[in-house]
């Protein structure tokens, strides 16, 4: 038995509880970390409650922690309880308050604090937490088979993928985004802790450096290929397109077949490994031909400015200005029956591919849409077959999730399914 029993003083004053001498120093170092360049003031909060879940059209924050989880209980009541407690904790954390309220960091010296503490004194950093349900949740376990929307079907095998079975699927997903990676990690960590015994993490991905622009107020960031990414993305301000392509049951969208999903959206996540070493050996001309844009300005090869519209018919010396196999051509709505999607990806690195000694890095691609099998799937099929970029990519992780509509102040996640 431990000879040292912690006193009942607050955690932060009790060396017996804190233990590590570095905690205090660490906090102040973090607290004084400047907000990342280009991020809106990091102290801002994004409301958790509303008709839509935050984290879809919210201006993309700087970092991501994405977790796919499996439900381990057979009791629907336990899962409902966790979803309820998750929404309460997420609502609290997104305002910059610890789990369990202002005193959540302390409490009695003889019990673990409710909040894990590492986000204390950090600003809310625009934290959003977005929940999704995977197709596997709608099996016989919880009697949800007849509640599964038709669009929530496992993704088919797609060209250009070499999926790692440990990074695929999930009964649930949590997407936490914030302008501070520590805030995003803290959110997922505490939700995982709350769910322990009912859910467990199946796979997880940390992302940094948003690779998408989801608002006209944001400049276009660059992905790890060094190219601006998301120039032609849907924006929060494109309300008509969001209705048509993103929100379930929206104006001009396919009818919603499940009432509980009305106002929600589907999330497709793809962990796309970039073959960085090969890419870095490619000449500038090859890189630009493959993407279809100029590396420095981001302008399409048919124009001169970043936001010039693609001119897919333009020729230079008799050849298409934008190559027939260029990524932007094959991904453009005009060549995909007008399909638009809301991308919200992040760069990732997981260190090293130990088998080859190469860097394991790339794009954690997240895309939202109201009909992924008619939007993402055909586009990806086309890209995987014809896109010159595919030579430099490998899809290694994958998941599809139904993100329900937003939670109202007196509501909770799980409504419409469990409650």
């Amino acid at each position: 038995m431990s000879a040292v029993r912690p006193s009942r003083r607050g955690v932060l004053t009790s060396a017996a509880v804190v233990g590590a001498a570095g905690i205090g120093a660490g906090v102040s170092a973090v607290a004084s970390r400047p907000a990342a360049a280009g991020s809106p003031t990091a102290s801002r909060t994004v409301p958790f409650h509303g008709t839509r879940q935050a984290g879809v059209t919210t201006p993309a924050q700087d970092s991501l922690v994405f977790a796919a989880l499996d439900v381990t209980t057979k009791r629907a009541g336990d899962l409902a309880d966790v979803l309820q407690r998750w929404s309460a904790a997420a609502a609290t954390m997104t305002t910059g308050v610890p789990v369990g309220g202002p005193g959540g960091l302390g409490g009695a010296g003889d019990e673990p604090p409710q909040d894990t503490g590492e986000a204390h004194e950090l600003p809310a950093a625009n934290l959003t937490v977005t929940l999704g349900y995977g197709p596997s949740l709608f099996d016989e376990r919880f009697g949800l088979a007849d509640r599964r929307p038709a669009a929530l079907e496992e993704l088919p095998a797609l060209p250009g993928e070499q999926l790692d079975p440990t990074k695929v699927g999930g009964d649930l997903c949590l997407q936490a985004c914030a302008d501070d990676p520590q805030v995003a990690f803290h959110a997922v960590r505490n939700l995982v802790r709350i769910g322990r015994g009912t859910v467990r993490v199946r796979w997880m991905q940390l992302g940094f450096g948003r690779t998408s622009t989801t608002s006209t107020t944001q400049s276009t960031p660059r992905n790890l290929m060094g190219f601006k990414d998301g120039t032609a993305n849907l924006r929060a301000e494109d309300t008509a397109d969001l209705e048509k392509f993103v929100w379930v049951g929206g104006q001009g969208a396919p009818a919603a077949d499940q009432d509980w999903m009305r106002g929600g959206t589907y999330l497709v996540a793809r962990r796309i490994r970039m073959l960085i070493e090969s890419w870095d050996r490619a000449s500038l001309g090859e890189q630009e031909r493959v993407i279809g844009r100029a590396k420095e300005s981001g302008a399409p090869l048919s124009g001169t400015q970043e936001f010039d519209a693609l001119d897919l018919d333009k020729t230079v010396h008799g050849k298409p200005a934008i190559d027939v196999a260029a990524h932007v051509r094959l991904a453009a709505p005009d060549t995909n029956g007008g399909v638009k999607m809301l991308r919200r990806g992040y760069s990732y690195t997981d260190g090293l591919d130990v088998a080859t000694g190469q860097l394991d890095a790339g794009l954690f691609f997240i895309v939202f849409g109201n009909d992924p099998h008619q939007q993402f799937v055909p586009v990806q099929r086309r890209l995987g077959t014809h896109d010159a970029l595919t030579e430099y990519l490998k899809h290694t992780g994958s998941g599809i999730f139904a993100c329900p509509p937003g939670v109202q102040r007196d509501g909770a996640w799980g409504e419409g399914l469990f409650i």
Binding site: R8, T72, Q84, G103, G106, G197
Partner: protein, 383 residues
């Protein structure tokens, strides 16, 4: 904080309230006046300075406590603790503007109201009438004396099994020593936290090579384990076996007179699961014999024993938590079941990564609620 689910619609309140409504909280606004309460109606007000009970004395019998947070930011809970240090009732997660109630029968005596994190964390509370003769809490007394008995019995088994194991080692009988190694490990693993409380005794008995600064001073079970299971010999192990017998004997002497506090039981139960998570479920503990699952099961058995002894006390403050923890103990023991082999368990090396993950998940699921037991039953005075 682990609760059974309840319909959401009954909680027409802000989400933060979800955290408290289930523990009997309500907003100060929907004040259901406590008219017609028992003769002992007590209002406990939380402030950052401390908690005050009004009145601070009631006659023996039924009493109902209403805990109100009218604006304390650092203080969100109050507990009523008896003179034996046991928490009889509590309300927690009362953020400013919330209130919660608990009711109970009180015998005459001196109590304390405790509110962690306040400037003054305790205030006295008196129940008048004819006091019972003993101030020792009977539920705690039963738990701690029961644990003392259990520890003595396990160490007695350890002495016997280690003696037989050491005899086989000294006789140079490798096969027999291998056979007797596991049975000697189990009783030790059941009461490991107790052994750890005696300074260097645990390292002498149970240290692993990685934790020894000078390998020539390595003693205990694992040194012999390496000789038997990795090298297939007892050569040079006789003195190590004799030392092990002496160290186990020393442990036996010490536990004859060791007494335990209720917090020791709760922390010991949690500590055993941390042992499982840290070195058994990873296959690190029994690196040569791969008997990790046997240690795993023994750790869980010891943890469950300590918890079972505390259950009557915990039942009073949080019956839901008892149900949750019991269910998760069952889950862990069920998860181990397929690996039973006669008196022992399958070797760790036979497990697939997925099987290891399932076991680890079950342990984590149990350890989380178990970590709350101490704070639920033991008042500060007994920490």
């Amino acid at each position: 904080m682990i609760r059974t689910s309840r319909p959401l619609l009954a909680l027409a309140a802000a989400p933060l309230l979800l955290l408290v409504a289930c523990s009997g909280g309500s907003t100060a606004a929907d004040d259901s006046a406590s008219g017609g309460a028992a003769s002992g109606a007590v209002k406990v007000t939380l402030t950052d300075d401390g908690c005050t009970a009004e009145p601070n004395s009631v006659p023996a019998g039924a009493a109902s406590f209403e805990v109100v947070n009218s604006g304390a930011s650092a203080v969100t809970e109050a507990e009523l603790v008896n003179s034996g240090g046991r928490i009889l009732g509590e309300r927690e997660n009362l953020t400013p503007g919330l209130r919660g109630k608990f009711s109970l029968k009180l015998e005459a005596g001196e109590y304390t109201i405790q509110c962690p994190n306040a400037a003054t964390e305790t205030s006295t509370f008196t129940v008048t009438g004819s006091a019972p003769s003993s101030t020792e809490d009977p539920l705690f007394a039963a738990a701690t004396s029961g644990y003392q008995t259990y520890v003595k019995q396990q160490v007695a088994d350890l002495v016997t099994a280690t003696g037989a194991f050491a005899a086989a080692v000294e006789a140079g009988d490798v096969a027999k020593a291998k056979e007797l190694y596991g049975p000697a490990r189990a009783p030790y693993e059941r009461i490991e936290p107790v052994a750890e409380s005696f300074g260097d005794l645990d390292p002498k008995i149970d240290v692993r090579i990685a934790d020894v600064a000078d390998p020539s001073t390595w003693t205990g079970f694992h040194r012999i384990e390496q000789a038997l299971f990795e090298k297939g010999t007892t050569e040079g192990m006789a003195p190590v076996a004799q030392q092990l017998v002496a160290d186990v004997g020393q442990l036996n002497t010490l536990v004859q007179t060791t007494t335990y506090q209720p917090a020791d039981l709760a922390n010991g139960a949690s500590g055993l699961l941390d042992e499982v998570a840290k070195s058994k479920v990873t296959g690190e503990e029994e690196a040569y014999s791969h008997l990790d699952l046997l240690d795993f099961a023994a750790n869980v058995e010891g943890s469950r024993k300590a918890f079972d002894l505390l259950t009557p006390a915990l039942q009073v403050t949080d019956a839901d938590l008892v149900t949750t923890i019991q269910g998760r103990f069952d889950d862990v023991q069920t998860a181990l079941q397929p690996y039973r082999r006669g008196d022992g368990y399958a070797l760790y090396t036979e497990l697939t990564p997925d099987q290891v993950k399932d076991l680890a998940t079950a342990v984590d699921a149990l350890a989380e609620p178990l970590s709350q037991v101490s704070g639920k039953v033991v008042g500060a005075a007994n920490q």
